[in-house]
Protein backbone atom coordinates (compact mmCIF):
# COMPACT_ATOMS: atom_id res chain seq x y z
CA UNK A 1 0.00 0.00 0.00
CA UNK A 2 2.76 2.42 1.03
CA UNK A 3 4.53 2.36 -2.33
CA UNK A 4 1.34 3.30 -4.14
CA UNK A 5 1.13 6.56 -2.15
CA UNK A 6 4.79 7.23 -2.94
CA UNK A 7 4.08 6.53 -6.60
CA UNK A 8 1.14 8.97 -6.55
CA UNK A 9 3.27 11.77 -5.07
CA UNK A 10 6.17 10.92 -7.41
CA UNK A 11 3.92 10.98 -10.50
CA UNK A 12 2.37 14.31 -9.45
CA UNK A 13 5.83 15.81 -9.01
CA UNK A 14 6.90 14.53 -12.44
CA UNK A 15 3.81 15.97 -14.14
CA UNK A 16 4.16 19.35 -12.39
CA UNK A 17 7.90 19.62 -13.17
CA UNK A 18 7.52 18.39 -16.76
CA UNK A 19 4.86 20.99 -17.52
CA UNK A 20 6.19 23.93 -15.55
CA UNK A 21 9.98 24.07 -15.99
CA UNK A 22 10.85 26.79 -18.52
CA UNK A 23 12.62 25.97 -21.79
CA UNK A 24 15.36 28.39 -22.81
CA UNK A 25 17.76 28.49 -25.74
CA UNK A 26 20.74 28.85 -23.45
CA UNK A 27 20.00 27.31 -20.05
CA UNK A 28 21.90 29.09 -17.23
CA UNK A 29 19.99 28.25 -14.07
CA UNK A 30 19.52 24.69 -12.84
CA UNK A 31 15.76 24.60 -13.44
CA UNK A 32 15.87 25.57 -17.10
CA UNK A 33 15.44 22.96 -19.83
CA UNK A 34 17.53 23.17 -23.03
CA UNK A 35 16.00 23.83 -26.45
CA UNK A 36 16.66 20.69 -28.47
CA UNK A 37 17.03 21.34 -32.23
CA UNK A 38 13.97 20.16 -34.25
CA UNK A 39 11.93 19.67 -31.08
CA UNK A 40 12.08 23.33 -29.95
CA UNK A 41 9.37 24.31 -27.48
CA UNK A 42 7.52 21.07 -28.06
CA UNK A 43 10.37 19.11 -26.47
CA UNK A 44 8.31 18.42 -23.37
CA UNK A 45 6.78 15.47 -25.20
CA UNK A 46 9.79 13.34 -24.26
CA UNK A 47 8.53 13.25 -20.65
CA UNK A 48 5.29 11.53 -21.64
CA UNK A 49 5.58 10.10 -25.14
CA UNK A 50 8.89 8.28 -24.72
CA UNK A 51 7.88 6.44 -21.49
CA UNK A 52 4.63 5.21 -23.10
CA UNK A 53 6.48 4.03 -26.23
CA UNK A 54 9.14 2.41 -24.06
CA UNK A 55 6.49 0.62 -21.97
CA UNK A 56 4.63 -0.65 -25.03
CA UNK A 57 7.86 -2.32 -26.16
CA UNK A 58 8.78 -3.47 -22.63
CA UNK A 59 5.32 -4.98 -22.12
CA UNK A 60 5.81 -6.93 -25.31
CA UNK A 61 9.10 -8.34 -24.00
CA UNK A 62 7.50 -9.18 -20.63
CA UNK A 63 4.59 -10.87 -22.40
CA UNK A 64 7.01 -12.88 -24.49
CA UNK A 65 9.10 -13.79 -21.44
CA UNK A 66 6.08 -15.23 -19.64
CA UNK A 67 5.04 -16.89 -22.91
CA UNK A 68 8.40 -18.70 -23.01
CA UNK A 69 7.96 -19.66 -19.36
CA UNK A 70 4.54 -21.06 -20.17
CA UNK A 71 5.95 -23.16 -23.01
CA UNK A 72 8.59 -24.59 -20.67
CA UNK A 73 6.46 -25.26 -17.59
CA UNK A 74 2.87 -25.39 -18.93
CA UNK A 75 1.63 -23.38 -15.95
CA UNK A 76 -1.54 -21.50 -16.96
CA UNK A 77 -0.77 -18.70 -14.48
CA UNK A 78 2.16 -17.66 -16.70
CA UNK A 79 -0.28 -17.28 -19.58
CA UNK A 80 -2.46 -14.97 -17.46
CA UNK A 81 0.62 -12.82 -16.73
CA UNK A 82 1.63 -12.86 -20.38
CA UNK A 83 -1.82 -11.87 -21.68
CA UNK A 84 -2.24 -9.16 -19.02
CA UNK A 85 1.11 -7.61 -19.96
CA UNK A 86 0.10 -7.70 -23.63
CA UNK A 87 -3.23 -6.01 -22.86
CA UNK A 88 -1.50 -3.15 -21.05
CA UNK A 89 1.12 -3.01 -23.79
CA UNK A 90 -1.66 -2.48 -26.32
CA UNK A 91 -3.03 0.38 -24.23
CA UNK A 92 0.37 2.09 -23.90
CA UNK A 93 0.96 1.50 -27.60
CA UNK A 94 -2.28 3.34 -28.44
CA UNK A 95 -1.24 6.17 -26.08
CA UNK A 96 2.20 6.44 -27.69
CA UNK A 97 0.67 6.46 -31.18
CA UNK A 98 -1.93 9.11 -30.30
CA UNK A 99 0.44 11.42 -28.40
CA UNK A 100 2.98 11.06 -31.21
CA UNK A 101 0.40 11.82 -33.89
CA UNK A 102 -0.92 14.91 -32.09
CA UNK A 103 2.62 16.15 -31.59
CA UNK A 104 3.43 15.44 -35.26
CA UNK A 105 0.47 17.62 -36.32
CA UNK A 106 2.03 20.63 -34.58
CA UNK A 107 5.67 19.92 -35.36
CA UNK A 108 5.62 18.37 -38.84
CA UNK A 109 2.20 19.57 -40.06
CA UNK A 110 0.34 16.28 -40.44
CA UNK A 111 -0.96 13.70 -38.01
CA UNK A 112 0.50 10.81 -39.97
CA UNK A 113 3.20 10.72 -42.62
CA UNK A 114 4.65 7.18 -42.47
CA UNK A 115 7.84 8.21 -40.82
CA UNK A 116 9.78 4.96 -40.07
CA UNK A 117 9.14 5.41 -36.33
CA UNK A 118 5.42 5.79 -36.97
CA UNK A 119 5.56 2.69 -39.16
CA UNK A 120 7.24 0.70 -36.40
CA UNK A 121 4.75 1.72 -33.70
CA UNK A 122 1.95 0.95 -36.16
CA UNK A 123 3.34 -2.55 -36.69
CA UNK A 124 3.62 -3.09 -32.94
CA UNK A 125 -0.05 -2.10 -32.76
CA UNK A 126 -0.84 -4.60 -35.54
CA UNK A 127 1.05 -7.40 -33.78
CA UNK A 128 -0.84 -6.69 -30.54
CA UNK A 129 -4.11 -6.69 -32.50
CA UNK A 130 -3.28 -9.96 -34.26
CA UNK A 131 -2.23 -11.48 -30.91
CA UNK A 132 -5.65 -10.76 -29.40
CA UNK A 133 -7.47 -11.83 -32.58
CA UNK A 134 -5.65 -15.16 -32.34
CA UNK A 135 -6.50 -15.51 -28.65
CA UNK A 136 -10.18 -14.89 -29.28
CA UNK A 137 -10.23 -17.50 -32.05
CA UNK A 138 -9.16 -20.40 -29.81
CA UNK A 139 -11.43 -21.76 -27.11
CA UNK A 140 -9.29 -24.44 -25.46
CA UNK A 141 -7.33 -22.71 -22.70
CA UNK A 142 -4.02 -24.53 -23.08
CA UNK A 143 -3.99 -24.43 -26.87
CA UNK A 144 -4.74 -20.71 -26.74
CA UNK A 145 -1.88 -20.14 -24.33
CA UNK A 146 0.58 -22.20 -26.42
CA UNK A 147 -0.25 -20.70 -29.80
CA UNK A 148 -0.38 -17.11 -28.57
CA UNK A 149 2.98 -17.58 -26.82
CA UNK A 150 4.47 -18.92 -30.04
CA UNK A 151 3.02 -16.03 -32.03
CA UNK A 152 4.36 -13.43 -29.62
CA UNK A 153 7.84 -14.98 -29.88
CA UNK A 154 7.75 -14.88 -33.68
CA UNK A 155 6.51 -11.29 -33.48
CA UNK A 156 9.37 -10.47 -31.12
CA UNK A 157 11.91 -12.00 -33.50
CA UNK A 158 10.84 -9.64 -36.30
CA UNK A 159 10.43 -6.65 -33.97
CA UNK A 160 14.12 -5.58 -33.88
CA UNK A 161 13.89 -4.92 -37.62
CA UNK A 162 11.25 -2.28 -36.97
CA UNK A 163 12.43 -0.89 -33.68
CA UNK A 164 16.10 -0.52 -34.44
CA UNK A 165 17.14 -1.27 -38.02
CA UNK A 166 14.56 0.14 -40.44
CA UNK A 167 14.07 3.50 -38.62
CA UNK A 168 17.82 4.14 -38.65
CA UNK A 169 18.54 3.15 -42.27
CA UNK A 170 15.47 4.81 -43.76
CA UNK A 171 15.17 8.56 -43.88
CA UNK A 172 12.50 10.19 -41.78
CA UNK A 173 11.54 13.12 -39.62
CA UNK A 174 11.67 11.49 -36.20
CA UNK A 175 14.79 12.26 -34.11
CA UNK A 176 17.33 9.45 -34.61
CA UNK A 177 16.57 8.79 -38.30
CA UNK A 178 19.34 8.09 -40.81
CA UNK A 179 19.47 11.61 -42.27
CA UNK A 180 18.83 13.44 -39.01
CA UNK A 181 21.31 16.32 -38.84
CA UNK A 182 19.70 18.08 -35.88
CA UNK A 183 19.97 16.07 -32.73
CA UNK A 184 20.25 12.32 -33.29
CA UNK A 185 18.40 9.98 -30.94
CA UNK A 186 17.32 12.39 -28.20
CA UNK A 187 17.83 10.16 -25.19
CA UNK A 188 21.17 8.57 -26.06
CA UNK A 189 22.85 11.66 -27.53
CA UNK A 190 23.77 14.67 -25.44
CA UNK A 191 20.76 16.85 -26.29
CA UNK A 192 19.34 16.91 -22.78
CA UNK A 193 20.88 18.70 -19.82
CA UNK A 194 21.07 17.32 -16.27
CA UNK A 195 17.68 18.64 -15.10
CA UNK A 196 15.90 17.34 -18.18
CA UNK A 197 17.55 13.97 -17.74
CA UNK A 198 16.48 13.75 -14.09
CA UNK A 199 12.85 14.60 -14.90
CA UNK A 200 12.89 12.22 -17.87
CA UNK A 201 14.20 9.24 -15.92
CA UNK A 202 11.88 10.07 -13.01
CA UNK A 203 9.00 9.98 -15.47
CA UNK A 204 10.23 6.67 -16.86
CA UNK A 205 10.31 5.20 -13.34
CA UNK A 206 6.86 6.64 -12.54
CA UNK A 207 5.31 5.18 -15.69
CA UNK A 208 6.97 1.80 -15.08
CA UNK A 209 5.60 1.78 -11.52
CA UNK A 210 2.15 2.61 -12.85
CA UNK A 211 2.49 -0.22 -15.36
CA UNK A 212 3.45 -2.68 -12.64
CA UNK A 213 0.50 -1.63 -10.48
CA UNK A 214 -2.01 -2.03 -13.32
CA UNK A 215 -0.44 -5.29 -14.39
CA UNK A 216 -0.71 -6.72 -10.89
CA UNK A 217 -4.39 -5.67 -10.65
CA UNK A 218 -5.15 -7.17 -14.05
CA UNK A 219 -3.49 -10.49 -13.16
CA UNK A 220 -5.45 -10.73 -9.92
CA UNK A 221 -8.84 -9.97 -11.50
CA UNK A 222 -8.18 -12.46 -14.32
CA UNK A 223 -7.32 -15.15 -11.76
CA UNK A 224 -10.62 -14.52 -9.95
CA UNK A 225 -12.57 -14.55 -13.23
CA UNK A 226 -11.03 -17.86 -14.33
CA UNK A 227 -11.83 -19.36 -10.91
CA UNK A 228 -15.48 -18.33 -11.26
CA UNK A 229 -15.71 -20.01 -14.64
CA UNK A 230 -14.33 -23.33 -13.41
Amino acid sequence: MGWKVVLGVWMTAVIVLALSLPISANPQRWYELPKIPALEDKGRIVFFHVPTAWLSAAAFVISMGYGIRFLRKKNIDDDIKSASAAGLGLMFCVLATVTGAIWAKFNWGTYWNWDPRQTSIFVLLLIYGAYFALRSAIEVEEKRATLSAVYSIIGAVTMPFFMFIIPRIMSGLHPGSADDVNSGPVVSSGGMNFTMRVVFYASLIAFSGLFYWMWDLHIRTTRIESKQIH
Binding site: L71, T119, V123, L126, I127, G129, A130, A133, L134, A137, I138, E139, K143, T146, L147, A149, V150, Y151, I153, I154, G155, V157, T158, F161, F162, I165, I166, I169
Partner: protein, 240 residues
Amino acid sequence: MGTTNGWILARGRKIADERLWQASFAIFRKDWKSELRTRYAISALVMFVISTISIILFSLGSEGASLSALSGMLWVAIFFAAMSGLSRTFVAEEERGTSMTLQLIATPTAVLFGKLLFNLVLVICLNVFVVLLYSAFISEFVVKTYSIFIVTVALGSIGFATAATIIAAIIARANTKGTLYPVLAFPILLPLLLTVINGTRLATEGAFFEEALGEFNLLVSYIVAVVTASYILFDYIWRD
Protein backbone atom coordinates in the same frame (compact mmCIF):
# COMPACT_ATOMS: atom_id res chain seq x y z
CA MET B 1 36.64 -46.18 -25.73
CA GLY B 2 36.09 -42.46 -25.72
CA THR B 3 37.05 -42.15 -29.36
CA THR B 4 34.77 -45.06 -30.31
CA ASN B 5 31.88 -43.40 -28.52
CA GLY B 6 32.65 -40.14 -30.22
CA TRP B 7 32.80 -41.91 -33.55
CA ILE B 8 29.45 -43.64 -32.95
CA LEU B 9 27.88 -40.35 -31.86
CA ALA B 10 29.23 -38.54 -34.89
CA ARG B 11 28.07 -41.33 -37.17
CA GLY B 12 24.64 -41.40 -35.48
CA ARG B 13 24.31 -37.69 -35.96
CA LYS B 14 25.28 -38.04 -39.60
CA ILE B 15 22.64 -40.72 -40.14
CA ALA B 16 20.07 -38.54 -38.35
CA ASP B 17 20.98 -35.60 -40.59
CA GLU B 18 20.63 -37.74 -43.69
CA ARG B 19 17.30 -39.10 -42.42
CA LEU B 20 16.06 -35.58 -41.68
CA TRP B 21 16.82 -34.53 -45.23
CA GLN B 22 15.23 -37.71 -46.63
CA ALA B 23 12.15 -37.39 -44.41
CA SER B 24 11.67 -33.69 -45.27
CA PHE B 25 12.02 -34.48 -48.93
CA ALA B 26 9.50 -37.34 -48.63
CA ILE B 27 6.97 -34.98 -47.04
CA PHE B 28 7.62 -32.44 -49.76
CA ARG B 29 7.02 -35.15 -52.41
CA LYS B 30 3.82 -36.29 -50.70
CA ASP B 31 2.47 -32.72 -50.57
CA TRP B 32 3.47 -32.06 -54.14
CA LYS B 33 1.74 -35.22 -55.38
CA SER B 34 -1.51 -34.49 -53.55
CA GLU B 35 -1.32 -30.90 -54.77
CA LEU B 36 -0.99 -32.06 -58.38
CA ARG B 37 -4.00 -34.32 -57.88
CA THR B 38 -6.37 -31.54 -56.80
CA ARG B 39 -4.45 -28.41 -57.92
CA TYR B 40 -6.25 -26.51 -55.16
CA ALA B 41 -3.46 -24.18 -54.04
CA ILE B 42 -2.04 -23.67 -57.54
CA SER B 43 -5.37 -22.71 -59.11
CA ALA B 44 -6.21 -20.45 -56.17
CA LEU B 45 -2.86 -18.70 -56.56
CA VAL B 46 -3.17 -18.32 -60.33
CA MET B 47 -6.70 -16.94 -60.20
CA PHE B 48 -5.76 -14.57 -57.39
CA VAL B 49 -2.82 -13.22 -59.36
CA ILE B 50 -4.92 -12.73 -62.49
CA SER B 51 -7.68 -10.91 -60.62
CA THR B 52 -5.25 -8.69 -58.68
CA ILE B 53 -3.31 -7.70 -61.78
CA SER B 54 -6.48 -6.99 -63.75
CA ILE B 55 -7.73 -4.75 -60.91
CA ILE B 56 -4.42 -2.88 -61.04
CA LEU B 57 -4.76 -2.54 -64.82
CA PHE B 58 -8.38 -1.34 -64.59
CA SER B 59 -7.55 1.24 -61.94
CA LEU B 60 -4.48 2.50 -63.79
CA GLY B 61 -6.38 2.80 -67.07
CA SER B 62 -4.31 4.66 -69.61
CA GLU B 63 -2.49 6.69 -66.98
CA GLY B 64 0.91 5.57 -65.82
CA ALA B 65 2.03 5.39 -62.22
CA SER B 66 5.35 6.25 -60.60
CA LEU B 67 8.01 3.53 -60.38
CA SER B 68 7.81 3.34 -56.58
CA ALA B 69 4.02 2.88 -56.75
CA LEU B 70 4.43 0.14 -59.37
CA SER B 71 7.09 -1.67 -57.30
CA GLY B 72 4.74 -1.50 -54.31
CA MET B 73 1.79 -2.85 -56.29
CA LEU B 74 3.86 -5.80 -57.54
CA TRP B 75 4.36 -6.94 -53.96
CA VAL B 76 0.74 -6.20 -53.04
CA ALA B 77 -0.26 -8.70 -55.74
CA ILE B 78 2.28 -11.25 -54.46
CA PHE B 79 1.25 -10.77 -50.82
CA PHE B 80 -2.47 -11.34 -51.35
CA ALA B 81 -1.93 -14.25 -53.73
CA ALA B 82 0.42 -15.88 -51.22
CA MET B 83 -2.12 -15.36 -48.44
CA SER B 84 -4.72 -17.25 -50.47
CA GLY B 85 -2.63 -20.36 -51.08
CA LEU B 86 0.20 -20.84 -48.60
CA SER B 87 -1.85 -21.88 -45.57
CA ARG B 88 -3.12 -24.84 -47.59
CA THR B 89 -0.32 -27.30 -46.65
CA PHE B 90 -1.16 -27.28 -42.95
CA VAL B 91 -4.89 -26.62 -43.14
CA ALA B 92 -5.34 -29.57 -45.52
CA GLU B 93 -3.73 -31.93 -42.98
CA GLU B 94 -6.23 -30.79 -40.33
CA GLU B 95 -9.20 -31.02 -42.70
CA ARG B 96 -8.33 -34.49 -43.93
CA GLY B 97 -7.59 -35.55 -40.36
CA THR B 98 -4.14 -36.74 -41.35
CA SER B 99 -2.09 -34.62 -38.98
CA MET B 100 -2.11 -37.36 -36.33
CA THR B 101 -0.64 -39.86 -38.77
CA LEU B 102 2.00 -37.37 -39.78
CA GLN B 103 2.86 -36.82 -36.12
CA LEU B 104 3.45 -40.55 -35.74
CA ILE B 105 5.54 -41.20 -38.83
CA ALA B 106 7.77 -38.12 -38.97
CA THR B 107 9.71 -35.88 -36.59
CA PRO B 108 8.37 -32.32 -36.22
CA THR B 109 11.55 -30.90 -37.77
CA ALA B 110 11.10 -33.06 -40.88
CA VAL B 111 7.46 -31.94 -41.18
CA LEU B 112 8.45 -28.28 -40.83
CA PHE B 113 11.20 -28.44 -43.44
CA GLY B 114 9.10 -30.56 -45.81
CA LYS B 115 6.25 -28.06 -45.69
CA LEU B 116 8.71 -25.19 -45.93
CA LEU B 117 10.20 -26.71 -49.08
CA PHE B 118 6.72 -27.14 -50.56
CA ASN B 119 5.76 -23.54 -49.81
CA LEU B 120 9.10 -22.34 -51.15
CA VAL B 121 8.52 -24.06 -54.51
CA LEU B 122 4.99 -22.66 -54.58
CA VAL B 123 6.16 -19.10 -53.82
CA ILE B 124 8.94 -19.24 -56.41
CA CYS B 125 6.45 -20.41 -59.10
CA LEU B 126 4.04 -17.70 -57.95
CA ASN B 127 6.65 -14.95 -58.08
CA VAL B 128 7.92 -15.93 -61.52
CA PHE B 129 4.34 -15.97 -62.79
CA VAL B 130 3.47 -12.60 -61.21
CA VAL B 131 6.64 -10.94 -62.49
CA LEU B 132 6.09 -12.27 -66.03
CA LEU B 133 2.45 -11.10 -66.14
CA TYR B 134 3.29 -7.80 -64.50
CA SER B 135 6.06 -6.88 -66.90
CA ALA B 136 4.02 -8.11 -69.88
CA PHE B 137 0.98 -5.97 -69.13
CA ILE B 138 2.41 -2.93 -67.39
CA SER B 139 4.76 -1.37 -69.86
CA GLU B 140 6.06 1.34 -67.49
CA PHE B 141 7.51 -1.34 -65.24
CA VAL B 142 10.98 -1.84 -66.68
CA VAL B 143 13.76 -3.42 -64.64
CA LYS B 144 17.08 -1.69 -65.26
CA THR B 145 19.38 -3.57 -62.87
CA TYR B 146 18.59 -7.25 -63.29
CA SER B 147 21.06 -8.45 -60.63
CA ILE B 148 19.28 -6.47 -57.88
CA PHE B 149 15.87 -7.56 -59.10
CA ILE B 150 16.72 -11.28 -59.25
CA VAL B 151 18.38 -11.33 -55.82
CA THR B 152 15.50 -9.32 -54.32
CA VAL B 153 12.84 -11.64 -55.73
CA ALA B 154 14.82 -14.77 -54.73
CA LEU B 155 15.48 -13.63 -51.15
CA GLY B 156 11.94 -12.23 -50.95
CA SER B 157 10.51 -15.62 -51.98
CA ILE B 158 12.54 -17.47 -49.34
CA GLY B 159 11.53 -14.98 -46.67
CA PHE B 160 7.86 -15.14 -47.70
CA ALA B 161 7.88 -18.94 -47.58
CA THR B 162 9.54 -19.12 -44.14
CA ALA B 163 7.23 -16.65 -42.41
CA ALA B 164 4.12 -17.94 -44.21
CA THR B 165 4.86 -21.55 -43.22
CA ILE B 166 5.13 -20.99 -39.48
CA ILE B 167 2.04 -18.74 -39.43
CA ALA B 168 0.16 -21.39 -41.45
CA ALA B 169 1.09 -23.96 -38.80
CA ILE B 170 -0.41 -21.71 -36.08
CA ILE B 171 -3.52 -20.98 -38.16
CA ALA B 172 -4.20 -24.66 -38.84
CA ARG B 173 -4.40 -25.26 -35.06
CA ALA B 174 -6.78 -22.35 -34.40
CA ASN B 175 -10.49 -22.65 -35.06
CA THR B 176 -10.80 -20.00 -37.76
CA LYS B 177 -8.76 -21.32 -40.63
CA GLY B 178 -8.77 -18.77 -43.42
CA THR B 179 -9.78 -15.37 -42.10
CA LEU B 180 -7.03 -14.89 -39.55
CA TYR B 181 -4.16 -15.87 -41.85
CA PRO B 182 -3.47 -12.47 -43.46
CA VAL B 183 -4.13 -10.76 -40.11
CA LEU B 184 -1.42 -12.78 -38.38
CA ALA B 185 1.00 -12.86 -41.30
CA PHE B 186 0.93 -9.18 -42.26
CA PRO B 187 2.80 -7.70 -39.26
CA ILE B 188 5.36 -10.51 -39.42
CA LEU B 189 5.89 -10.04 -43.17
CA LEU B 190 5.98 -6.25 -43.10
CA PRO B 191 9.74 -5.78 -42.53
CA LEU B 192 10.28 -8.13 -45.47
CA LEU B 193 7.71 -6.32 -47.64
CA LEU B 194 9.17 -2.87 -46.95
CA THR B 195 12.64 -4.13 -47.82
CA VAL B 196 11.71 -5.97 -51.03
CA ILE B 197 9.62 -3.00 -52.21
CA ASN B 198 12.64 -0.79 -51.66
CA GLY B 199 14.88 -3.30 -53.50
CA THR B 200 12.47 -3.47 -56.45
CA ARG B 201 12.35 0.31 -56.64
CA LEU B 202 16.17 0.43 -56.71
CA ALA B 203 16.20 -2.18 -59.52
CA THR B 204 13.74 -0.17 -61.64
CA GLU B 205 15.63 3.06 -61.03
CA GLY B 206 18.82 1.47 -62.31
CA ALA B 207 20.86 1.65 -59.10
CA PHE B 208 24.23 -0.09 -58.79
CA PHE B 209 24.30 -3.54 -57.19
CA GLU B 210 26.31 -2.23 -54.22
CA GLU B 211 23.57 0.23 -53.33
CA ALA B 212 21.16 -2.61 -52.55
CA LEU B 213 23.57 -4.53 -50.28
CA GLY B 214 21.95 -3.08 -47.15
CA GLU B 215 18.58 -4.44 -48.30
CA PHE B 216 20.08 -7.87 -48.97
CA ASN B 217 21.72 -7.98 -45.54
CA LEU B 218 18.36 -7.17 -43.98
CA LEU B 219 16.62 -9.90 -45.99
CA VAL B 220 19.21 -12.56 -45.13
CA SER B 221 19.10 -11.74 -41.41
CA TYR B 222 15.29 -11.77 -41.52
CA ILE B 223 15.31 -15.24 -43.10
CA VAL B 224 17.86 -16.59 -40.61
CA ALA B 225 15.90 -15.16 -37.65
CA VAL B 226 12.53 -16.53 -38.79
CA VAL B 227 13.89 -19.98 -39.74
CA THR B 228 15.65 -20.32 -36.38
CA ALA B 229 12.56 -19.25 -34.45
CA SER B 230 10.34 -21.64 -36.46
CA TYR B 231 12.79 -24.50 -35.94
CA ILE B 232 12.70 -24.00 -32.16
CA LEU B 233 8.97 -23.27 -31.84
CA PHE B 234 7.43 -25.70 -34.29
CA ASP B 235 7.54 -28.54 -31.75
CA TYR B 236 5.12 -26.65 -29.48
CA ILE B 237 2.66 -25.95 -32.29
CA TRP B 238 2.76 -29.39 -33.85
CA ARG B 239 2.39 -31.69 -30.83
CA ASP B 240 -0.95 -31.71 -28.99
